[in-house]
Symmetry: C2
Subunit: 620 residues, 2 copies
């Protein structure tokens, strides 16, 4: 790979197809793009993010380093994001076997795009209805389609197909709100060859499920990293990057490319013809949907914090470059606001909290922390800018839920930790559920106090490069130790405080008490081994009986699939999005107070956490 002298190493790596992790978008303050220089001349800016040891080993931040000669660079394995590499099957599996799956029977099965086999009487002198209207009549005998539309190209070809097939054709009809579009016509009976892809457009991970629309079932699943990730781990950073570098199209291209990789992988694995994939339904946060469609996302991060479109009309998937049937349709679930996207609407749809008499709380802890409170009468929502600490970001050994991640951890009384890793390999880092367990364990054992600071005189706490740290996994032959630092803990506490403060604002505003809460739904990529009780222990979720808390997994993909299979579900999603009241926390007078009060373990006000109060008072 040749690059000009002076090229930034991060960029050079990118050009070589190697995507380095980067939270800050190349601004040099996240420290995630560390690489080892094996040979060659370079210039690097001074940074506080490298230890003396790392500097001695010629480790640099790729974003702060420019190339001066031929160079040989090693990328530490755990820091690489190979976006073109599809996640392992076992990882994709994690996203498909969760309780938040679309359940049959809740909505009428009536896919957004349908193939209908129609046999018509051929025209005669005495039955001279034109082909176009003859087909409409035949379609309407089978489906409810009072308002029909036909694009010009289909109009031009339908006579030929009808004649050649002896008036036995398969019509593909796509629903565009109240209108029904005739999007394809094929000779003969092809109605069983109708597939769709549901997509969860995550900031970190893009998940796709391939569905058979005739059998109404999921036939395969796949996931990949969102390859925008080296422009910033959170979407605010990516918007800034795109704005500064006029890279909106590149942002779109990457996301579309990710989707295409998933679609092609699924289709080839299941021997499905791409032409027979007629539908894509996406759920994702507002920024991701804007990136996908190349809608202007700039005011998502700037006052007045609005979307260009919340209710995105169906468009042809080919218009954004998604490689399914070239007349196939792309649907995006509706969003509520700039910071409450269609993934959250999908969550409300999936949990069915909008149908219940009792009040439910829904919290989606991903790169952001969105919360929804309500019942069949009302719904309120908010988004905490808590940051993606529980996705491993800003945490020294934090990582996403992948092979080698500690996903479950127990601290014993002797200060040692017992853990379980994904794929049962030697641990390389800690993912969300492991971090939750760690924080709860440190707190309940008094290793950290209510402010989150390491308590004095704890034997398991030592002094590391970045101050006090707790050793979770000691170093062993060839493996680094894995520790949690004071800075990590502070990040996690800030993150949980943001989520809980948002919950408090919603509960206070609606005068909802703890007793009023019938159910708490926790969504996100935590994985099935999440210990929900620990989410209460650290004060992230309200202190309700554990049996009321349900981990619902990836509700974004579940909601996308529900909508794919049922027009009624899409109408319900639109109703949910349209009726939800959004609280802007940044301008809310009480939020900052709530955030500060939630910055303790479990909270400043222990009366809010009666079940935790015992542990907490032991070591104030």
């Amino acid at each position: 790979m040749e690059v000009p002298v002076g090229t930034v190493l991060l960029e050079a790596a990118h050009k070589a197809g190697i995507y380095l992790s980067s939270i800050c978008g190349g601004d040099g303050y996240c420290g995630k793009c560390k690489v080892i220089v094996d040979a060659g001349q370079f210039h690097t800016h001074p940074t506080t993010l490298l230890t003396q040891d790392e500097i001695r080993r010629d480790i640099v931040l790729a974003c702060q380093t420019t190339v001066l000669s031929d160079m040989t660079v090693t990328v530490p394995k755990s820091h690489t994001l190979e976006t073109t590499q599809i996640l392992m099957d076992s990882d994709a599996h994690r996203f498909s076997e969760l309780p938040g799956e679309a359940r049959a029977g809740l909505f009428k099965f009536d896919p957004k795009v349908k193939k209908i086999y129609v046999e018509m009487s051929p025209p005669t002198i005495h039955n001279h209805t034109a082909d176009h209207e003859r087909l409409y009549v035949a379609i309407r005998e089978q489906v409810d389609a009072p308002i029909m539309q036909t694009g010009f190209r289909i109009l031009q070809k339908l006579s030929a197909v009808m004649q050649a097939s002896g008036y036995k054709v398969t019509a593909t009809i796509g629903r565009r709100g109240e209108c029904t579009e005739l999007i394809e016509i094929e000779a003969g009976d092809q109605h069983a060859r109708n597939y769709a892809v549901a997509v969860d457009l995550g900031t970190t991970t893009v998940v796709a499920h391939l569905m058979d629309l005739t059998a109404a079932k999921t036939i395969d699943t796949e996931a990949t990293y969102n390859s925008q990730i080296n422009f910033g781990e959170d979407y605010i950073r990516r918007i800034i990057y795109a704005e500064e570098n006029d890279a909106f199209e590149e942002m779109q291209d990457r996301l579309v490319n990710d989707i295409n990789n998933l679609v092609v992988t699924l289709a080839s694995r299941k021997r499905v013809d791409l032409q027979d994939i007629t539908t894509v339904v996406c759920a994702g946060n507002t920024a991701m949907v804007h990136f996908l469609l190349n809608l202007d996302p700039r005011r998502i991060r700037r006052e007045p914090y609005i979307a260009s479109a919340s209710f995105v009309p169906p468009i042809r998937a080919a218009e954004v470059g998604i490689q399914i049937n070239k007349r196939g349709l792309l649907y995006c679930l509706p969003s509520v606001a700039a910071y409450v996207g269609s993934d959250i609407v999908a969550g409300v749809l999936t949990t069915r909290m909008y149908t219940k008499k009792g009040i439910s709380l829904f919290a989606d802890i991903g790169t952001n922390g969105e919360v929804v409170l309500g019942n069949k009468e009302w719904l309120v929502c908010a988004s905490s800018s808590a940051g993606p600490a529980f996705e491993g970001s800003g945490i020294k050994y934090g990582m996403r839920a992948g092979a080698g991640a500690i996903e479950k951890l127990t601290i014993h009384n002797n200060g040692t930790a017992e853990y379980r890793t994904i794929a049962e390999t030697h641990p390389v880092g800690i993912c969300g559920s492991g971090l939750l367990d760690t924080l709860a364990g440190l707190f309940t054992h008094g290793i950290i106090d209510r402010t989150g600071r390491f308590a004095d005189g704890q034997s398991a706490v030592n002094e590391g490069d970045e101050g006090n740290q707790f050793v979770l996994v000691p170093a062993s032959d060839g493996h680094n130790e894995i520790v949690i630092t004071q800075a990590d803990i502070n990040n996690l506490v800030r993150s949980k405080a943001g989520v809980f403060a948002a919950i408090r604002v919603l509960m206070e505003s609606t005068q909802t008490t703890l007793d009023d809460l019938d159910a708490v739904y926790l969504a996100g990529g935590f994985g099935n081994f999440l210990d929900v009780k620990n989410a209460v222990t650290i004060g992230m979720l309200p202190d309700v009986p554990t049996e009321k808390i349900k981990f619902v997994g990836n509700t974004a993909i579940a909601g996308a699939k529900t909508v794919l299979l049922s027009r009624q579900a899409m109408r319900t999603a639109e109703h949910i999005a349209g009726s939800m009241t959004y609280f802007d926390l940044m301008s809310h007078p009480g939020y900052m107070d709530e955030f500060i009060r939630a910055g303790f373990l479990p909270h400043t006000d222990l009366s809010l956490f009666p079940s935790v109060a015992g542990a907490a008072t032991n070591h104030v």
Copy 2:
């Protein structure tokens, strides 16, 4: 112009941009493509269509002649159709000042495509509706648009336009049936710049009216020959030509080119920006609409005689190549059947016969002869394959209504003819109204008998190249004589017989008597000097009191304009087209008998024409 040896002269002329008149599509039997060879070698097939004198003067049929060397050829002026030449203003005027004009107030003014100026409150933190939905709300405050759609390109740009304009924009909305599409968004108030073109897609003439959609008025009119004409004067010939030569695209190109010529001429004359023309509405026979859209027209001429589409959905005008705003919409009025097109529906709409208690008859005598009978309860229709004799086709000195055409003619008792020509030039031929006068005059003066044959012993009748003929205009210094031949008369009688037989079938089938007829509407390019009484005298129209017969002119353009200005009118047109009962005359058991009975002047059964019977019995 270079062409290979062996090229057919008609084709060579065409390549040189000279369009010769041709009814038969180059099959050598219409005799309309006569040219004079001034120099050069050629080969020509023997033909009975040239007189000895013509052959001596090196006149050939261009379609039967192949080029063998360099040639110089003169095209007789009266036989040229210069398709790129727009008809003179006076001709266009003929089409605009007719009583069939769209009348204000009959339908609610509510154009198919509207520009609406909307001022919105810019978003704030407390009013965070997304731009797309904000615009929808604002549009819906002004217009009834429950179902809205936005194309992807507009969705992508709307935020930028809204922001740049301070949320003061002009939205262009187009109605697609029950759906309303946001087709354009512009900064600031542009609502007054909204223009449309109504088009009458005639087989012979294409007429366009430029309308100001804000002021709801016609601002200019223009007409041109349909430049498909050298592939055949009637559309059946053109379909055959297109099928044999795979020339469907060329057919479309020519028609689109004609429309573009008209649109550009009108727009430049009135200094209207093409981008501000948002709508085109077309009315025409079913074949012309199929050619325009490149829909398969082949079964229009073959069993089962059906259209590919009768109710054509709105499409983007740019999709067929019409050069208005690239997102502007093209609407076609609905048609009834292969031989009863949207021009006839426009006629019914314009005459308002569908609203009346009494029964009306509508007859459109153009290249074909379509008739509609009915009232507000029922409508029946049929098409006679009478041929375009009254458009001058198949008539030795027949011509379209243009400069030099005899449009009014009276035969005096002494056998001389008094006439009036269009543009008051020396006569070069006879157009429809003149032919009607001629036939009626010859009959009432006993110059022809009830069978249409020249009576014996008429001094004004002489023997011409083609048998007996009547001299209408004697030869004079440099001008040919103008005659009407026995063959001409036979053609005209066949043509009127076709129309009347169709009327009879409809009246008999619905048990409508002469007395039941409240009104007879005659449409077509006859011009204002049409003597409607003569249409009864020759037995083309039923014998009702003259005051009941109204010449309504070009109802196709009038209907297109009405629809342009009112969604309600389009819905009415759809209702008319959907409820009209079509009689296929070719398969109708009584039609042939009626046709034979109508082959006399005025008819075999004189009791049907009491007002004419006196004249008729004088010279049986």
